[in-house]
Amino acid sequence: MTKQASREQVAAYLALFDNDVESAIAAVRSYKPMQIANALSVNPAAPVINREGPPLISVNAVTKEYRIGHQKVEALRSVSLRVYEGEIVAITGSSGSGKSTLLQLIGGLDKPTSGSVSVANTDLSKMSDHTLSRFRGQTIGFVFQSFYLQPFLNLGRNLEVPGMFAGTPHRERHQRVQELAAAVGLTERLQHLPKELSGGQIQRAAIARALFNRPKVILADEPTGNLDSKNGMAIIDLFEQIRRNFNTTIVIITHDYAIAQRADRHITLKDGEVVL
């Protein structure tokens, strides 16, 4: 199914392709959501991603419905998406467009009403809660807008939390915390409580926590939403650095087009459908 792109979307394409009008026009003419998702929204500045092999994340015709009272709400409508290893993908869309729902389906925190979600060749919808928890702990790292660090644990302990649930031995955890703190530049702050850190530091800590179990995928839900633009950009820098260092696939939900522009690909959702 194809759709006619709107004037606003064209403007967005222009912005995305750095005012490369030819590319933007080509994109509009051959408008197909899947194609746009997989090819046309690729940032030319992004490193070369192997998109020939199997995708790391595969969302196939996923629909998600909720019931609010007697009313049925379709959060996602037959959404399909492929994300490859080492990619940074930004998902944008207005509030209620279904982007967080999509992220949570990819993270195995929710199950689709129809369709399937696979991560690292594993169909999440067929996993038990217990197996899914283990899988999530090992394969996926989450970063939230509100950080969600434990207020009464110092930073070091906070970084360890995924390791606690994974049953990682204490010594190994300690070593991992040192590495991660160094990676995000918080080595000196390990004994501090979250309330003693700045917003940017807290989010860096949250990212470090997401990296604890060396996940293949990081799912970031509005990671810069509570930060100023400078700190926001620093977080994106950090994501790029992580991708470079660990070849981690990163899916970012954002309202900020400047952030989205920094991603390898940019997908927009509207009313539960991929529109670009």
Binding site: S100, T101, Q104, G107, L109, D110, D129, H130, S133, R134, R136, G137, Q138, G141, F142, F144, Q145, S146, Y148, Q150, P151, F152, L153, R157, E160, V161, P162, M164, F165, A166, G167, R209, A210, F212, N213, D221
Partner: protein, 634 residues
């Protein structure tokens, strides 16, 4: 899966959030459980103390007293008995008329009241006037035809309950005679005599009946042989209450509000001195008493009329004996004519013919204290704490002066005393109820309680049935009731604990539930970083346990503190009271309000259980929720 140490780290963070609410929960729940713990410590201490004190008297024994039911009400309305009494009355009046005529003396038949009366004058509503000799004679005949239940009946009814022993006590009755204490060794031979009610209150020999008591029952109250005086070998041995001993020893009773230490000291003094306590009493039969009273009133009349020239002294004047002798009245003046003396002799002959005592009899009797027992409430209700304690746990011999049977029978002058105390009962109650009381002793409170509950007579207007011939009561102490009380206390404590657990669950559910509910997003984050439902359950279970442990520690500390405080505050008073109530033969015993009670362990477990119960619903709600929903609530 999360390790225990890590789960504890995460659970600890829960305790540190919402500190005020958590603090209030710990304090309020801790107060509830603390009070329960304190009660258990104190109850254990108190019951242990009671058990120790029980061993002094009869408290550790399970004796049931069997009493016959006086049938006064039934008998006075019995028409056959009334007819028999009327028959006896008619016969007696006829006999007396004949005897008077034969002796040549005057007989006034109206002086002998008829035995049947009708308050409203109706023939259908008649009663036997049991104050008349003829009515008593009819009653005596009736009682001989309908003998009171005896030891055989008790053995029969008690057999299914396997009693250990049987005992009998006998009331030492002086019949129509009186036994009056000679205060300071002298009789009151003046006109200034208290009224009868006051005498009954003041004179222990009038207040309490003398009861010949088997050694098995009296032994626990005996003073040590070494403390007994041998100065009065012929005195009747008696076991008396503390207050009676104070009177015998001439000690002023302590006022009610004196400190515990003073009460204890008084008990010590009593036990030290009681062995030398001797009570002199004067026994007089009715003739002797009448002659003494006549002597007193005549002397008073003469003194009053000493300036009255018209006053004529009686022709026969009795004189008073020495006040410390308990001797017979003397003849101070006898100026009767020969005819008057002849008439008096004939009257005496007439009285003797109709079973009236005619010769004076009196003798001085000494009693010596050989044992002490706590005062009883004499059945009167008491609203004071000590009164309630006395009624509840006291060990005593139920308002009597006990005469140890073996010591009494070994007295050199036992035969002489038997002449005094073998009088045929003439008082109404003495006829109606046996002078013997029977006892059965059981091995434990259960059989004793069962015997009382199942075999005691529930008196109807016609008395008791043959199957249940006795009124049965716990005797000597309330050890049976005490066991019952302990069981009831346990039940009450259990109910109280249940109520407290219920309230605590409500409070803790509020806190734990709020805490878990508030942690929904955090739970979602944990789920996102790899926590399974079991991990989440583990962390919150540890949180609930830690909260419960805080409450348990607070409750235990508070309970210990309260119980210790109560013990510190009340043990001296309670010890003094216990010595008063139980008997102070072992003055080293202390009544404590603190004892290690294993039930406290159950309370602490209940606290833990309360925490876990309070956690279940909120946790179930939490782990069943989709973490996404909680994140989306943001």
């Amino acid at each position: 899966m999360i390790h225990l140490g890590d789960a504890i780290i995460l659970a600890t963070t829960k305790l540190r959030t919402r500190r005020i609410r958590t603090g209030i929960t710990v304090v309020v729940s801790g107060l509830l459980f603390g009070c329960l713990v304190a009660t258990l410590f104190m109850a254990k201490g108190a019951f242990d103390s009671i058990s120790k004190f029980n061993a002094i008297g009869l408290g550790s024994r399970y004796i049931v007293q069997a009493q016959t039911v006086p049938l006064t009400g039934v008998i006075t309305q019995d028409k056959d008995l009334q007819a028999r009494a009327q028959e006896l009355y008619t016969q007696q009046v006829a006999d007396k008329k004949a005897a008077a005529k034969k002796l040549g003396i005057t007989y006034d038949a109206t002086a002998d009241r008829p035995p049947v009366i009708s308050p409203d004058g109706k023939a259908t509503n008649t009663f036997l006037d049991i104050s008349t000799p003829v009515a008593l004679q009819a009653v005596r005949e009736y009682m001989q035809a309908h003998p009171q239940p005896g030891m055989g009946d008790l053995k029969r009814t008690a057999a299914p309950y396997h009693p250990k022993n049987f005992y009998t006590t006998e009331t030492l009755s002086t019949g129509d005679g009186t036994l009056v204490t000679m205060n300071n060794g002298v009789e009151n031979l003046t006109t200034n005599q208290p009224d009868l009610g006051t005498q009954y209150q003041q004179d222990i020999l009038m207040k309490y009946p003398l009861q010949l008591t088997p050694t098995a029952i009296s032994r626990p109250f005996m003073l040590p042989a070494t403390s007994l005086s041998s100065d009065h070998p012929d005195a009747i041995p008696i076991i008396v209450t503390y207050s009676a001993a104070e009177k015998v020893l001439g000690m002023t009773p302590l006022s009610k509000g004196v400190p515990a230490a003073q009460k204890l000291e008084r008990i010590r003094t009593l036990y030290r001195k009681a062995g030398s306590g001797v009570l002199a009493a004067c026994y007089r039969n009715t003739v002797s008493t009448d002659q003494i009273q006549t002597a007193i009133t005549t002397a008073a009349d003469i003194a009053k009329n000493k300036d009255n020239k018209d006053y004529q002294k009686p022709s026969l004047i009795y004189g008073l004996p020495a006040a410390d002798s308990c001797g017979p009245a003397t003849i101070a003046r006898d100026v009767r004519t020969t005819d008057e003396k002849s008439q008096a002799a004939k009257q005496k002959q007439f009285d003797a013919q109709f079973n009236t005592v005619t010769e004076p009899d009196q003798q001085k009797i000494e009693f010596r204290i050989v044992g002490l027992m706590p005062d009883t409430q004499d059945g009167a209700p008491s609203s004071s704490a000590s009164g309630i304690l006395q009624g509840l746990v006291g060990s005593s011999l139920a308002g009597v002066i006990a005469v140890p049977e073996d010591m009494y029978n070994a007295l050199p002058s036992a035969a002489r005393y038997k002449a005094v105390f073998n009088s045929t009962p003439t008082s109404v109650m003495a006829i109606f109820s046996s002078t013997s009381t029977y006892y059965a002793e059981f091995a434990n409170d259960t059989t004793a309680r069962a015997f009382i509950d199942n075999a005691s007579c529930n008196p109807s207007p016609s008395g008791c049935s043959k199957a249940k011939p006795f009124m049965l009561n716990a005797f000597g102490s309330n050890s049976i009731a005490l066991q019952d009380l302990q069981r009831k206390f346990r039940r009450a404590a259990l109910l109280g604990a249940g109520a407290i657990v219920f309230i605590a669950v409500a409070i803790m559910t509020g806190t734990v539930g709020r805490m878990i509910a508030d942690s929904r997003r955090e739970t979602a984050v944990f789920r996102a970083v790899g926590a399974g439902r079991f991990d989440i359950t583990f962390v919150y279970t540890l949180y609930a346990i830690m909260l419960s442990v805080c409450i348990a520690v607070f409750a235990l500390g508070l309970g210990l503190l309260l119980a210790r405080l109560a013990d510190w505050k009340f043990w001296q008073t309670a010890t003094a009271q216990a010595q008063l109530v139980f008997g102070g033969s072992n003055l080293s015993l202390q009544f404590r309000f603190f004892g290690i009670n294993t039930a406290v362990g159950w309370v602490l477990l209940a606290t833990l259980g309360t925490g876990l119960i309070s956690m279940i619903l909120p946790l179930l709600r939490n782990i069943r929720r989709s973490p996404i929903k909680d994140m989306r609530d943001e």
